[in-house]
């Protein structure tokens, strides 16, 4: 066991899953939400020459995806350090 205790292992995993679900909620919101389900509503809004819903579907969702992954990388590295389970 690389964790100090079973409680630490469980806490680490809970924090990891919470972070993952938070980021996946945003992932869902920008693509399925803004790009598909709410696209007609958002299309009423103009955004730099685009209809906003259309922009999310063809540009915005992709940019957000990149940010999400790098936020995950950064937060997970910190979490690994906090519980001392990072790699050398």
């Amino acid at each position: 066991m690389s964790f100090e205790s079973k409680e630490h292992a469980a806490k680490y995993w809970r924090e990891n899953v919470r972070l993952m679900l938070t980021l996946l909620a945003i992932w869902f919101a920008v693509s399925y939400g803004a790009g598909i389900l709410l696209v007609d509503v958002l299309n009423e809004i103009k955004f730099f020459g685009f209809k906003l819903g259309f922009w999310f579907a063809q540009q915005g969702a992709i940019y957000t995806f990149i940010v999400l992954i790098f936020v995950y990388v950064k937060k997970m590295n910190a979490l690994d350090k906090k519980y001392n389970v990072h790699e050398d």
């Binding site: 690389s2 964790f3 292992a9 680490y12 995993w13 990891n16 899953v17 993952m20 980021l23 996946l24 992932w27 693509s31 399925y32 790009g35 598909i36 389900l37 696209v39 299309n43 955004f47 730099f48 020459g49 685009f50 209809k51 259309f54 922009w55 579907a57 063809q58 540009q59 969702a61 992709i62 940019y63 995806f65 990149i66 999400l68 992954i69 790098f70 995950y72 990388v73 997970m76 590295n77 690994d80 519980y83 001392n84 389970v85 990072h86 790699e87």
Partner: protein, 566 residues
């Protein structure tokens, strides 16, 4: 210099480069052959993943498809990028910590079952072969259009090149050639896009020019919506597919991406878990450069094309005044004109006024000519298309050869072979796979093009749930996972086969289950897979303790070693 000479030059130089890299980085052990020794830096792996991922279809066809579908084309943009978020957050780090060579390795060990391993091998080989045949065809098509050799000769030349670096170099050779191929491909895609964006909107970034205004001050997209309505098409920014179908297709493509073996295996090649996470981020950055440019190219090309054919005043352009690209590409059959009303003018529309047949591939292939770019840019597109097709083909061939030599022979039928013998088998399997892929490229079974798109549905409904449950549900047992996989893939395959091959006439929205097209059905298959797995698990008890301990151990990074076969 003329276009053909330049094309030969560009393609020749890039081929020499790929072979040089292969010789320099040839594999000496199974570890190097399967996972490049596990020492590929995160950024390089990201680049290789991007090249592996973006096929001839992404390079040649995607912008064209979006150009014709407008908003509906977004399913490909979101679907083929969103999967990387799933990979980075839910799969790659854990599979890397698990530290084996292949996806069937994980499935077989996690579900303590040779049957599971064999099912996974069959799925992996099936998915990869359907995919690779399309790539070889792509190589042939690029050869025939730009270099004026027959499609078959083109495929054979492509086979020889791939043979060289896949058989010799294994994953190590493939990885570093893919890095080079990514650079060629992205340069070839971006250069024409920047030229066209400048020409049409005055903005150097296609992603911004996309929202800019054309010469007379109207916003590009507004103009395009207006043109589309006038000609009887759906508005470009609105689309016409039902929302539920757009939702399900996007989900099937995302989840399928995260379940494709040739993508997953790339994350076994990095040194540690931290790099597996980072490398997924880099892969998406490199992919996004092309994927955010594509919809801009699509819109530019559509406005350009309509203006060229119908004329600025929408009266049609006289055929004898048509620019040379129309006549050039007419000979390849990608564009055709039939003067129905006998006025000598071409006209393009959605209704009975239409006189044109236009293949969507022309949007990227002829784009430099449409925008009157210099010859070297046209030649560059040839080299780029080739790079896109070759890089994906090589990655797929490696999955096939690994599945046979490692999963089937070493881990199943012949556990006592030495590393040297296994490496020899891997090379032989790669060689046979190249030949089979080449044969399929020259004689494509009619269904290949149809099936490629469904590889995603099949991956989504089989691998993805099994892997996710294997990581996040440590009590999940083999009975649950196996029955889930079987039910998911059978349902999805049956639905697709019924609507595509048995009764294609019935393939309309009214007959679809909940209005979901065969392209999107993998999402439902995935949900079924999860449901069946949970149900069966409830009835059959938990996974053994030693397996649950393995699951615990892949949930944190510390102690990740190099990938190994033990």
């Amino acid at each position: 210099m003329d276009i053909q000479l330049l094309s030969y030059l560009f393609v020749g130089v890039t081929f020499a480069l790929y072979i040089g890299i292969a010789v320099w980085s040839r594999a000496g052990s199974t570890n190097e052959f399967y996972v490049a020794g596990g020492g590929v830096p995160a950024v390089a792996n990201g680049m290789a993943t991007a090249a592996d991922w973006m096929s001839a279809a992404s390079f040649i066809s995607m912008a064209g498809i979006i150009s014709f579908l407008g908003y509906d084309g977004s399913v490909y943009l979101m679907g083929w990028t969103g999967g990387y978020v799933l990979l980075a957050l839910c799969l790659a780090p854990y599979l890397r910590k698990f530290g084996k060579f292949t996806v069937p390795d994980f499935i077989g060990d996690r579900y303590y079952s040779q049957a599971a391993r064999v099912i996974a091998v069959i799925c992996a080989i099936f998915v990869s072969f359907t995919y690779v045949a399309g790539q070889m065809r792509g190589v042939g098509v690029v050869f025939s259009r730009f270099l004026e050799v027959g499609v078959s000769t083109g495929v054979v030349i492509g086979m020889v090149i791939v043979f060289f670096y896949a058989v010799l170099g294994g994953m190590k050779g493939i990885t570093y050639t893919q890095v080079a191929q990514y650079c060629v491909m992205i340069f070839a895609y971006i250069v024409p896009a920047i030229f066209i964006s400048l020409l049409m909107t005055g903005n150097v970034f296609p992603q911004l020019g996309f929202g800019g205004s054309v010469g007379d001050g109207t916003p590009l997209l507004q103009k395009l919506d207006g043109l589309s309505t006038e000609l009887g098409f759906a508005q470009y920014t609105e689309g016409s597919k039902p929302m539920i179908d757009v939702f399900f297709i996007t989900a099937a493509l995302m989840v399928g991406t995260a379940g494709l073996p040739h993508v997953i295996v790339r994350f076994f090649t990095v040194p540690n878990v931290r790099d597996a996470r980072r490398s997924a981020g880099w892969a998406l950055v490199f992919i996004a450069i092309l994927y955010t440019t594509a919809p801009a190219v699509a819109a530019f090309a559509r406005v350009n094309m309509i203006n060229t054919i119908n004329g600025e005043n929408m009266q049609g352009t006289l055929y004898e005044d048509a620019p040379s690209w129309i006549k050039n590409w007419e000979t390849t059959g990608l564009i055709g004109w039939q003067d129905k009303n006998g006025d000598g003018r071409m006209f393009y529309a959605a209704d009975e006024r239409n006189e044109m047949t236009i293949d969507r591939d022309i949007m990227v292939l002829a784009n430099p000519e449409i925008a009157q770019l210099p010859n070297w840019v046209v030649a560059l597109v040839a080299a780029g298309g080739m790079a896109a097709a070759l890089s994906t083909a090589a990655g797929l061939l490696l999955v096939i050869s690994t599945s046979i030599s490692h999963d089937l022979l070493k881990r199943n039928l012949m556990p006592n072979i030495t590393d040297k013998q296994e490496l020899l088998f891997a090379r032989m399997a790669a060689a046979v796979a190249v030949v089979v892929a080449g044969y399929l490229g020259i004689n494509p079974p009619g269904f290949v093009a149809q099936v490629v798109a469904f590889a995603f549905g099949l991956a989504a409904s089989s691998f993805f749930p099994a892997i996710i449950l294997g990581i996040f549900h440590k009590k999940m047992n083999k009975e649950g996972a196996l029955s889930g996989m079987v039910v998911g893939i059978t349902f999805t395959a049956a639905y697709i086969i019924y609507f595509k091959f048995i009764n294609p006439g019935a393939n309309v929205a009214d007959n679809w289950l909940f209005g979901i097209s065969p392209e999107g059905i993998g999402t439902l298959g995935m949900i079924l897979n999860f449901a069946v797995a949970f149900g069966v698990h409830k009835l059959t008890g938990d996974a053994p303790d030693n397996v649950q301990d393995i699951v615990e151990s892949i949930r944190f990074p510390k102690g990740s070693g190099a990938a190994s076969s033990h």
